[in-house]
Homo-oligomer: 348 residues x 2
């Protein structure tokens, strides 16, 4: 274990330049620099050792040159490490909210050690009987995303028909389980037989299908939803959204969490059947988890007992070592991961 | 005036067959049949003389072979008269809610005299100091549409930036005036210089532009909304929607009232920039006026004094005679009308 004030080597995952198209491992570079394990004079921050890093689809958005006025999401800097959600251990703190030894989750850089100069947005981990990596997933950002998107945006009612795309991912697997706990009928789509099996056998989806094996997504949805879809939890966009629009029911709700199929396209695909939202009175709403973190305590109160009782499960795909970061992250966009993709930087 | 029991000639506007593409006058036919001015034995309906018929974009939807399960909107029958909103006078009634001489508005057939067998959904006209034709517009379905869409779906706040497309139409001209009364900044688009002048000089829009003269709708919107758009009242769809998505502000709202640019296309246009609704947390909601008629009394209470005080104005485009119906209706889809398009069937 490194001691305070020591200069240690610090591996980092650097964005080489803005990405267009499908991100490749070679768009990222693992470099080794060094860091002095000491908070600079006058800095009110904390020094952490990163333990787990979270591979999330939204990261792709930050890998391009974004120009979105006031959207509170900005681009990474080429030549600098990328950042994202992670779990870390506090080595030293000059901030009153944190002390040495605390475990936290929140935004950190993709590197072994980080100086976090504005730690106010970090969450302190209280429930340490859980696997720490869960704080990149079910107990972290994706958990609140699934919870807010499903319960706040979709307002599910017992007996409703729910469809989840990218259903075995970090968020989708939770939405499906929340839907079942709410008494809904839920179908998920995913991109491999292994994932479809997980959905049906591990997460308790009523049905699941491999979208890559469907010639006609509209026909697939008609097969699984002869009565139509009340709630669509949108993770993929593009052709799937179009097929869903054709199959929505009156007063359906679409929570738009992500559109992973579109992030790597220079020109996004067209969506053709939007006029359905008029006659069917559909509400379609985009959301970002940042707006819902006030629900985190309430969410933990709901989900922790359910995890302990085995009523909600969570599947992770762990890549070992920061060196595996570029492959793990870029694998997300071709669906290589099975479950929530995590990079293990260090054991506690 | 025809007397009870008399057989009179009855002109009708007939749909010849299902329409694809832009509706032409020749898709409709004015025929002359006859009707006995007597309610058949055992029928609990009313017999009316139609005075005004309303040309509304949604009618286009019913001119094709719709197959929308449970959407409460069905196709017209080729060979039969089309129907729509109208204002009529009761000639005879076997229904307890209506008596001879009552004026009503609601769904009626495009013909001179109609037997309405289920008059329960009709509205009785109480305020007769208003021009009767207003009950096809500001005091009828388009009025409630504008009111519900703007106030219920968009929840406007003082100072917000509002954009209305098809802004000089039956609904748009009202939305713009409601927005001004709510302390919003409002810009409208329309398809001719005459309409743009109306928007600015008659309806009090802050700005207006002719979309046909803009090479780049995105640039036009950037010009009129340097701060972006909070509320979009959507009447047209297609390319305009895409340009709006690029210019929406965080937590913007889009009330989807119609997509008139798409109704005549066999294959709708793609919408490419939907992913904006995630980062910008946009809510996009389709609605139908049927769900909001319970607000009609509240709406009348608001709007009638404002009309009487001249604080809200309404512009109509009146076509004289049922024979002019096919031209008036099809003109709507090329923007020939200036203001709310009404067909005058008969004077009271």
């Amino acid at each position: 274990m490194a001691s305070e004030g020591e200069v240690v080597s610090n591996k980092q995952v650097i964005l080489k330049e803005y990405v267009s198209g499908l991100p490749k491992e070679s768009d990222l570079q693992v470099t080794t620099g060094s860091i002095k394990l000491k908070i600079p004079e006058g800095c009110n921050g904390i020094l952490v050792k990163n333990l787990y890093l979270s591979c999330d689809p939204y990261i792709r958005t930050r890998m391009k040159n974004l120009q979105l006025k006031g959207a509170h999401v900005d681009s990474f800097q080429p030549g600098s490490p990328i950042s994202g959600y992670g779990v870390a251990k506090v080595l030293e703190s000059e901030h009153p909210n944190f002390k040495k030894g605390d475990l936290i989750w929140g935004i950190t850089d993709w590197e072994e050690y980080s100086l976090i100069t504005e730690p106010e947005t970090l969450f302190k981990i209280q429930d340490k009987d859980m696997p720490l990596s869960y704080y990149t997933g079910i107990l972290g950002m994706p958990g609140v995303t699934a919870y807010a998107g499903f319960f706040e945006i979709c307002s599910p009612k017992k007996g409703e028909y729910v469809f989840v795309s990218a259903a075995s991912g970090a968020v989708g697997q939770l939405v499906g389980q929340f839907a079942k706990l709410s008494g809904c009928y839920v179908v998920g789509s995913a991109g491999s037989k292994e994932k479809v099996d997980l959905l049906k056998n591990k997460f308790g989806f009523d049905e699941a299908f491999n979208y890559k094996e469907e010639q006609d997504l509209n026909a697939a949805l008609q097969r699984y939803f002869p009565e139509g879809i009340d709630i669509y939890f949108e993770n993929v966009g593009g052709k799937m959204l179009d097929a869903v629009l054709l199959n929505m029911r009156i007063r359906g709700r679409i929570a738009v969490c992500g559109m992973i199929s579109q992030y790597n396209l220079d020109q996004p695909e067209g969506v053709y059947y939007l006029a359905n939202i008029i006659l069917k009175r559909i509400r379609m709403e985009g959301f970002l988890v940042f707006d819902y973190y006030h629900l985190y305590p309430k969410y933990l109160e709901m989900v922790l007992p359910k995890i302990r009782e085995g009523k909600i499960v969570y599947v992770e795909d762990k890549a070992e070592g920061l060196e595996s970061g570029p492959a793990a992250l870029t694998g997300l966009f071709v669906g290589r991961n099975v479950g929530k993709q995590v990079v293990v930087v260090a054991d506690e």
